[in-house]
Structure formats: C-alpha cells, structure tokens
Symmetry: C2
Subunit: 451 residues, 2 copies
C-alpha cells in the first residue's frame, strides 16, 4: 500500500484497550442491572437533534461547546447531556407515556471543551429520572439514594457518602438572612466553599447585602458538623419563621427517615446544608456522592428534584427527580488510580487448547461449557505450545483446557487453573463443575477495589 | 412559558416508546451475552473521528452520505460503519493487542441516506470480528456461523438459514468460464439474481465476454439446488482445473464439516454458490442469513473472510473474518410485523402498591424482592386504587403486591397474578418463591415469536 494514513484518535475521546474496555462494560452492565431491578425503563434517544430543539434552553458556555453543523438545509447538534433529550422525549410522547415515567439512559454526550488530562469531549453519562404528570410523590426522592447505594456497593465501593440537602431549606435560610433576592448568586458563592474557604465565602456573601456577622452565622449554620438528627433539630428550632424553610425541613426530614428503609446505612448518608448544585434547575432535594478517602475527585453522582422538566417544549407541568453518574469520568479516575479489580479483565473464563490438528473434540468441549454458561474460547492457530498458553496468560484467562491425543482417547480433559498453576484430568462434567466451583470461590464480582 | 419549541425528532432517527425500547435492549443484551460466551472482547470507539482517518478508504456513495463538519480547525466525520474504526483501532494498537484479536462492537453509525420508511440515518450495527496477525486459522470461519446460530435461536428465531459460499470458489469458476478479468462486474451481476431473474442475468453475463450457452452453464452450476454434500461433490469433480477453485472448495468443505460440531444443524445451514457479498473486500468465506418464511427481508446477518483489515493504516498484514447484524433494521422489521414477544415488554416483574400512607412495609417488601433478583417498583403516588392498578396494567407488569393495614398487621402480602387474575395472601418468603416459580413457568425468555 503506497499511502498509509496515520491511525489517530481525536484527543478528548476515550478509546480503551481491550482489558480496560471489558471492565468498563461490566460496570455499564451493572448499572443497567440495578436500574432494571428498580423497574426503570431503558431509554435511547438520537445523538443528533435539530439545533433549535436541543438548544431551546441552552446559552452561554454550553452553546460554545456544542458540536453543531449543517447537513443540507438542516441545522444539527450533537447532544451535550441526557436531560434535554429526555425533556424533548417526554414532551413529545406525553400522550403515550404512563406517569410516573421512570427511565434510565446510559449514553454518550459531546462537549467541545478545552482538551485537558481527564477531561473528555465524548463521554458517557448514566442518568435515571422519575417524571410525574403535574405532581410526583416525595418518596421518590428517598428511593434515588437507595439505588445509588446499591450501585456503588455492588461495584465494590463501600466507603462513600451520599450527601443530601434541600433547596427550599437553603432558600428559606437565605430569606431569613435577608439574602432572598440574590439566591442564585448566594448559591454560587456557597458552592465555592470547598475551593476558597470560609473566610473568602463570608467576604463574598457580605457583598451581597448582609454584614460579616450575619454571614458568619449563616455559614456556621450551614457548615457546622452535626448528626443528621441534630441538623433536622437545629432547623426545626427555626420553625414558623419562613414557610419555604418549614416546607424544606419537612421534606428533608421525610426523605431522611425513609432512607434507611431503602437500605442506605447511616454511615453512607449525611445531610449537608452546603450542597447547592449550582444550577437554577433544582427546586427541592439535591444529592452529591463523595468517595470518602478521595474527596479531591469531587462528586461522582449528583442530581436532585426539579419542578418542571420540559417547560421549553410543553405547557404540561412535569416535575421530576433524578441523578446522574459521569461514567467516563468515574471510570477514568478508578483506572488512573489503580482501583479497578484486575481479576475481572479476562474476556472469557476458559481457553480450550487443542494440542494437535483435531479440533472436533475441542469444539465439542467448548460447546458443552458454553451450554453451562461458562464463557469459552478455543485457540485455533497453528502456533507453538508456548504461544498458545501465552495467549491465555496475556488475556488473563483463568482456566485452560488441554485436549491432546490422550485426552481424546480417554474421553477426558486436562484442566489447568492459571491462578495457582495446578493441572488435573477430569471428565467433562467434573471439569465444568470444578470451573464453576473455582469461579464461585473467587467469589466477589466486585469490579472496584475496596474504597 | 411564552416560547414553546416543538419537540421534534429528526426523520430517519429511531426513537422508541418505552415498551419497545425495553425489548430492543433485551435483544442488545442477548447479543452481548452470546458474544461474551465465545470470549469476544467488547470494543467501543468514538463516534467522531478525523475525516482524514475515517475516509482514508471511502469514496463515492459512502462519502456523500457522511455527516462531516469542522469544529475549530478540525475536519470531523461521524462513523458510517464499525469496520473502519476497527481497522484504525487495530492498526493503532497492534503492538499492545494479543492476536488473534476477537472483538464485538454494538454501536450507532450514521449515514445521511434519503429518508424512507424503514431506512435509518442513525442505526445500530452489531459486529464481531476475529483478526489474525499475518495469518488466521480457517476454523474461525466455521465458528462464526455457530455464534450466529446461537444468537438467533436464543432470540426465538428458529426457521432461518445461514447461507455460505467462498469467494475463491466463485473466482475459480469465473476463471474457468473465461470471466477472470471481470470478476467484480460478474459478482455485481450475480448479486442481482434474486431481483432480476436468471434470464436477465444470463444476458448481462454474456455482455461480459461469454456466450449465452456458457452463461447458462455457469448459472446452472451456481443456482441448481443441491444438498451441501452434492455441491461439494459437484465442485470436487472439477478439481485440477483451477488452483483458486481447488483452494476455495477445500476451504468450503472444511468449514462445512466443522459446522455441525459448532452446533449448527443441517437445516439451518446451506452452501449457496450465488452469494457474493458485492464488496471487493471479501476474499474467502462469505455469509448471509435469511429468515426462511420471509426472504423479502433480505439477509439479516452478513459477513465473511477478508485478507487484510487495515491496509490503509498499516503495512502489517491483518487477515480476519467477521459478521454484522443490522440491529436497528432487524428490530424495525420484527416490530413492524408484530413478531416481538409482547410478554417481554414490562419494565419490572412486580409492582408493589401501598394501600395507605405507610410506605415503610412496601419499601421493605420491595428491598426483599430485589435482593432475590426480582425486579420491583413501588407505586408511591396518591392516586385512587384504579389508577394504581391501571399503572401495572398499562406497563404490563405481571405481578402486583398489595400492602394494606391487614397485610401490615398480619406480616404478609397479597399477591395478584395479573395474567390470570388470581390473588392470594402469602408470607414474604412464599411470595418471592411463588413469583419466581410463575416466572419460570412462563418459561421462555424468547424475545421474538417463533419464526
């Protein structure tokens, strides 16, 4: 070939090697499994939409990052999140949907951000939302952290905290402190707490219309460490001063009470009055999820309650609650830090190696194992033995089965456990049972090392 | 809201309602399960690539259909198939891959074709390929139909035929008939056989340099119905006349012999010498898969053996064999014809309905069922009983559990089988067992009606 084009991949576009991709996909499927266990429908929407539809709401930073272009006369954009497509979908199909509508979507989204290590221009988001028609029970707000808890523990992450707050509580407090009109700005300042520290936040707050003393009191109220019960009590002590505050406190208390029923232990859950989730979008419960030993990663799973999903597309009021995992970013962090379970990176549990040219028995053995649900591949290439076993080694396949003349004559197989190096002859039936038992003994299906 | 944007979806972009999407996703996961069972790695590549890379080989029709645009200074294109990204990936990462490299990829591709019923501009392809380094055993060519057989039968499709041919056989025959130089054109003519009929094909062949008599003999040879054994015998009878033909016949005979070992019954497999797969790309075995009762659909799964995957990106010779399912198109056809199993369209197996305001027990029951692997959702909204049970009805959820004051007091649950209408009280443990047994009795996990 005269002309060779260099096979490059765009920067900011994650393209994994096989032994990473196989773990990524196991994580993706684990998310699908858990969402399905709670009765969420899967949803899939186009990656391309009319720009007019996709950008009905967007502006500023988001719009600059969009991949937008014309094809013929049509102005097209690639989706930059899964929320706008959901809003479009629900507004478009409202007449045919049954509410509450519970859906998950795991899909790629596109943002032309400045290229930077750990920043992606194409990345997976993994979203769940529950959408009501006109109204939606608060109990849904308590179920969401239950789902997140199951996902993280099933992945193998145990030392994490789901932080919860309620925007009405914040709004009520700002009212009481005379910051009512500036809510969006106050939230932006509070959101910077971990970055710039308490003093700087107080200074910024005081420029919004309260004195340093009041700013200090507000900050103390928001940031002082209390148990969940103490936080609720502290807030209840302010009852009767702001309807909004009272409503928020009742919601927060209800969600907190229901949480343990949904299986979330106290240690994995904390009311944190500083959480605001910068957006104007959320109106009630808000969530963030931190890996305790690594707060520097930031929230790995965030969301909340909103009053109206699709106001840009329909007059129908569609309140909802949802949460999003930045799957590509989470995977990147887990991988960079060496936190993925390397024992999970094999593409199949068994490699069958025919020792001669007779493949019939090797094929028969493989079919038998597959029918038992054991993933199996056969090495068909005419290579030296070392290359054959080396293939299993390089792919981290936990079991090899050798089929030579003896095994064919005797009707058995030689099974090698690649982890401990032991090798023994078995009947086909015992071989399958031995593999199955060994895989069970390996036990954990965790994909992430204990964090 | 003053400005309402109409929530439209681009034409040619499939966006399914929830009860269709849930079946689509079960089909997608079934494909993933089977590919994994054979030890294929999952692969995921970007949807956007440098145009220069993606279009290194393309030309003509393909290039016109591409979604191509500039972002800043970068000339970008959306992938139009999964083969070019695979070639790029393997060339780019050849040093880090272990060969043979077996991967599957299920992903969206983009072609700006003329909008037309049943034609999609965004659609899923589901590809598997086995790539060798320098060489690749022919046995792989026999494994591929084994995988296809398992996928179709597990989906519920049983009456289908995998048609197999070998391009070397065709090439050899064309040589013998003096059509050697015009191979590509001859293939294009033969490919039209089902569309334009034998006489028209003969006429067109005769314009390529042979007389009508020879054209008739060639056509008879290619199209006469024979058993697989007879076809091999007919071809063997011509041995010694063309090296290419002999090589092709040997390959075809070997693949045929191995196939039953890979679990493909005779009735699901047929040598068909008319299959050419129009492309210049294939060099050996070629496959097509037809649903017998509906030949008008065309091949639902096609592929073959190629000599060199990535000649445009590397000097390394990378032969392979692969097959592709046009998943979106297949799903569209199954759905349009009413061939999907409607019993599979529920988002969860159980709906728990709290009859009063006490959700604690409902949550406890749901958690118990989920821990047993039974997908369960709870109806939290304050609606009349009719609306609650109507929700289960509309979502085709097969079981409802009612939890009222009596059930809470007695520590049991009322289980309603929505299929037969029966309702009984059970302990939680018996309830789970009853659901599990009933789901097992429903038996089939087929997603497609028997075709």
């Amino acid at each position: 070939m005269a002309n060779i084009t260099e096979p490059r991949t765009l920067s900011g576009f994650m393209e994994l090697l096989p032994d990473r991709q196989v773990i990524f996909d196991k994580i993706r499927r684990k998310l699908e499994d858990v969402y399905s266990l709670y009765g969420f429908y899967p949803l899939d929407t186009p990656i391309l939409e009319y720009s007019e539809v996709l950008l009905a709401k967007a502006g500023g930073e988001t719009e600059k990052q969009i991949y937008r272009f014309n094809k013929g006369d049509t102005d097209l954009s690639m989706r930059f999140d899964l929320t706008v497509p959901l809003a479009k979908y629900v507004a478009k199909n409202a007449g045919e949907l049954t509410f509450p509508f519970k859906r998950y979507q795991i899909g790629k989204v596109y943002r032309g951000e400045r290229a930077q290590k750990g920043r992606f221009r194409e990345f997976y988001q993994s979203d769940i939302d529950i959408i009501g028609d006109g109204e939606l029970s608060l109990v849904n707000d308590a179920e969401i952290p239950g789902i997140i808890y199951r996902i993280f523990t099933e992945l193998g992450i145990t030392d994490f905290t789901i932080r919860i707050n309620n925007r009405k509580v914040l709004g009520g407090l700002f009212e009481l402190f005379g910051l009512g009109g500036n809510e969006a700005e106050v939230l932006r300042v509070i959101d910077k707490l971990e970055k710039i520290g308490g003093e700087a936040v107080k200074e910024e707050l005081s420029t919004l219309g309260i004195d340093m003393k009041a700013a200090g009191e507000l900050l103390e109220l928001l940031t002082h460490k209390r148990s969940n019960t103490e936080t609720i009590e502290t807030l209840r002590a302010m009852a009767g001063k702001s309807e909004l505050l009272d409503e928020g406190v009742n919601e927060l208390a209800t969600v907190t009470e229901l949480l343990s029923g949904f299986g979330v232990p106290d240690k994995n859950f904390r009311i944190d009055l500083t959480i605001a989730r910068g957006l104007d979008y959320y109106t009630g419960t808000v969530y963030e999820t931190m890996i305790n030993s690594h707060p520097e990663i930031g929230s790995v799973c965030s969301g909340g309650r909103y009053e109206n999903l699709a106001g840009y597309y329909t007059n129908r009021k569609l309140p909802g609650v949802g949460i999003s995992i930045g799957l590509t970013r989470l995977f990147y962090v887990l991988n960079e830090n060496g936190w993925l379970c390397e024992s999970q990176k094999y593409p199949s549990q068994v490699l069958v190696i025919p020792m001669g040219d007779d493949y019939a028995r090797a094929i028969e053995v493989s079919q038998y194992l597959r029918d038992k649900g054991i993933s199996t591949q056969i090495y068909f290439e005419k290579k030296k033995f070392k290359a054959r076993i080396g293939y299993a080694d390089k792919l981290s396949i936990p079991f090899c089965i050798f089929i030579g003349e003896d095994e064919i004559k005797e009707g058995n197989v030689s099974l090698k456990n690649m982890t401990d190096g032991t090798q023994e002859k078995y009947s086909l039936e015992d071989c399958a049972a031995t593999i199955r038992k060994a895989l069970e003994d390996l036990g954990s299906t965790a994909l992430v090392k204990s964090l």
